[in-house]
C-alpha cells in the first residue's frame, strides 16, 4: 500500500524542486536587470546607485543560495 503514497510524495517533492528552480530563475533574471541598470547608471556618471545595487544583488544571491540548499535537501530526500 506504500507504493501510491510513495509515488505521491515523490511527485510533490518534484513539484517543489521545479518551483524552487523556477524561483531561482526569476531571481537571476532580476539580478541581471539590476546589474544592467546599475552599470548604465554608473556609466552615466551617477555613482550613487552602486551601493544599493550591491546590497540588492547580495540579497538576491542569498536567496539563490538558500534555494540551492533547499534543492539539495529535497534531492537527497528523493534518493
Amino acid at each position: 500500500m506504500s507504493g501510491p503514497v510513495e509515488a505521491g510524495r515523490r511527485t510533490s517533492l518534484r513539484t517543489a524542486l521545479d518551483g524552487a528552480l523556477a524561483l531561482m530563475s526569476v531571481l537571476l533574471v532580476t539580478q541581471m536587470w539590476l546589474l544592467t541598470a546599475t552599470l548604465e547608471s554608473d556609466l552615466a556618471g551617477h555613482h550613487d546607485a552602486a551601493v544599493p545595487g550591491v546590497v540588492l544583488s547580495a540579497l538576491l544571491f542569498a536567496g539563490c543560495a538558500a534555494l540551492l540548499g533547499f534543492v539539495r535537501r529535497l534531492d537527497r530526500r528523493m534518493r
Partner: protein, 175 residues
C-alpha cells in the same frame, strides 16, 4: 549516478569500457541539482559584477571642481563650427558648438545612456548618439528621443578676452 549500465556485467563488453565506464548519454544529462548550482554560480557572477561597479566608483578619481581650462581662442572656433576638448579630466571628452558669434553650447560628449560619443547635427540642431539613436537638444542638452533618460552634462563656458574657457560642469540632474 555512476554512469554504468546496471544490467551490464563485468566481462560483458570490451576491456576499454570496463576501464572507462562513462556513457556519453549520462554525461549530457543535467540534473536539477546541477542546474541549481549553475544558477547560483551565475548569481554569484552578477554579485561580483555589482561589487566591481561599486569598487570602480569608489576608487574613481574625483573630478576637479570648477577648474578653469582654456578650450581655444574664440577666433579658432568660427560660427557654425565644432570643437572637441577634454574637461574636467583628460578622459572626459566634451563638445563645443558655436552656432553664432554669441551662441556657444558645450556639453559632455558622453551619451548618458552608455557613454558613446555624441556628435552635432547642425541642420537638425540636435546632438545625436550613433550607438542607439539617442538625441538631445542643442540648446539645453535635454533628451529628445532614444534610450537616454538624463540630459547631457553641460560645460559652463566663459569668454575671457579672446579665450573660451571651461569653468565648470552642470550635471543638469533634477532632484
Amino acid at each position: 549516478m555512476s554512469g554504468l549500465d546496471d544490467s551490464a556485467k563485468p566481462g560483458d563488453g570490451p576491456l576499454w569500457r570496463e576501464e572507462f565506464p562513462v556513457r556519453a548519454v549520462d554525461e549530457r544529462l543535467v540534473t536539477r541539482r546541477q542546474f541549481a548550482k549553475f544558477l547560483t554560480l551565475t548569481s554569484l557572477g552578477m554579485l561580483v559584477g555589482n561589487a566591481w561597479i561599486l569598487v570602480r566608483s569608489l576608487f574613481k578619481d574625483p573630478a576637479p571642481a570648477s577648474v578653469a581650462f582654456r578650450i581655444a581662442a574664440a577666433s579658432e572656433v568660427p560660427p557654425g563650427s565644432v570643437r572637441l576638448f577634454a574637461y574636467p579630466g583628460p578622459n572626459d571628452p566634451c563638445i563645443l558648438i558655436r552656432t553664432a558669434a554669441d551662441q556657444l553650447y558645450a556639453y559632455s560628449q558622453k551619451c548618458t545612456h552608455l557613454s558613446c560619443a555624441v556628435y552635432c547635427d547642425a541642420t537638425a540642431r540636435t546632438l545625436e548618439c550613433p550607438c542607439h539613436n539617442g538625441r538631445f537638444t542643442l540648446e539645453e542638452g535635454r533628451v529628445l528621443a532614444g534610450p537616454p533618460t538624463r540630459p547631457l552634462p553641460r560645460i559652463l563656458v566663459e569668454r575671457r578676452g579672446d579665450d573660451l574657457v571651461a569653468v565648470g560642469v552642470d550635471l543638469q540632474v533634477r532632484a
